[in-house]
Symmetry: C2
Subunit: 208 residues, 2 copies
DNA sequence: TGGCTTTTTTACCATTTGGTCAAGTTACGA
DNA sequence: TCGTAACTTGACCAAATGGTAAAAAAGCCA
């Protein structure tokens, strides 16, 4: 798949290519996550990236492709914490670690979280296939693992899918609804409190 | 405030006024919740409402006003379940009932939930004041109540604000991320499972 | 029915916006 | 250093979109 064949499609990304594509994607993440796909304009992205609009269209075939590129790149890193759960580990600790990793991602990458949330809220028009082919198998696999832990009596009985949904919901909430949380918790250390609360929540739920 | 004064601003909404304003708001809810504020077009709303675009602008001064009207109307009903918690009731049951009411709202009014989510994700540009003046006092009041229950030992110790956040997050997730949940749970009765799961989750968390 | 008000529509407008194109300009290997 | 390929830009477009104006139509009431 590495070219060398005559009609290879991807010759080789030059240094400038890599630098500018990255700039564009960084800018697009900022703008898309803040204004949504339709709310964002190429001019905004261009300005944020420090490039001209036609120049941006030199690197990407259109607004759509930038967005799709972002979503695809995101999907993988977004699911990493779930993949990192060790089936051989101590169940309760593994799951709590997963919660904390997800919460940490919300703090470190709120823009990515909002980009994702936006896409899903609008019916996932550009991610339908990925949900089916990437997310679903991973969820099923995780569900089986958790069911196994339940069957062995190592954690209290729970529906594994809804458990995962609730972990997603409670952790991403702090990124996606940051504007609201900010207003309601001004002064408090939000993530400190969230971390302690979620630890308690899932420990009480899952302790056999 | 009921007019009768000479320079009264609101003469009286005619039958046609009421009917058409309702049609427009219904249509706008549908369109805004699906495409977001900037993603929605007046033509879409007009078409959905069965009216012409200029006719819509006869009833509302602009796209913005329609959106704001929706958000304001929504805010109240959205917070009703929280207001309905009875400080004199049995704490655990009151809170569980709150969870179920919120979940029920997610099922019955997913469009409203998404409209709200959209607004917050984008930084609440049209709701900032309301969050401060309506939501925050209500949250504080509820927090005091819950803290009281904790102090009396009637529920297990929890941070009341994060508890409420997690209830919002876990219940609204089923509306806001419906597209994702749908794909991942095809075949299953989602709300049946969610209801049972959340019952378990918060019962285990809160039981003293 | 006649006359007034309310409602609706037809025809436009100005701006925004995604995208194109051809003419530069720059980088880089021979 | 020179030529070619890679990159950048200014000038444009066509379509979409929020919004307006004025005339036409529909209600409504005496």
């Amino acid at each position: 798949m590495q070219d060398s064949s005559p009609a290879a499609e991807t010759p080789k990304p030059s240094r400038i290519q890599r630098r500018n594509r990255k700039r564009i994607l960084d800018a697009a993440l900022e703008v898309f996550s803040q204004y949504g796909f339709r709310g964002a304009t190429l001019d905004q992205i261009a300005s944020e990236a420090g490039l001209s609009k036609p120049n941006i269209l030199y690197y990407f075939s259109g607004k759509e492709e930038i967005h799709v590129t972002l979503l695809n790149a995101l999907m993988d890193t977004w699911l990493d914490p779930l993949r990192e759960i060790d089936p051989e580990g101590e169940p309760l600790e593994e799951l709590l670690q997963y919660v904390h990793r997800k919460l940490e991602m919300s703090r470190e990458f709120p823009r990515e979280s909002r980009l994702f949330a936006n896409e899903i809220i609008h019916g996932a028009p550009r991610m339908g296939p990925d949900l089916e082919t990437v997310l679903k198998p991973l969820l099923e696999q995780s569900a089986v693992m958790i069911d196994g832990w339940v069957a062995e009596g190592r954690i209290a009985p729970v529906d594994p899918r809804h458990l995962i949904f609730s972990i997603w919901a409670t952790t991403q909430h702090y990124a996606d609804f940051e504007a609201q949380v900010q207003v309601l918790m001004e002064g408090h250390d939000v993530h400190e409190g969230a971390s302690a609360y979620l630890e308690t929540l899932y420990r009480r739920l899952l302790t056999p």
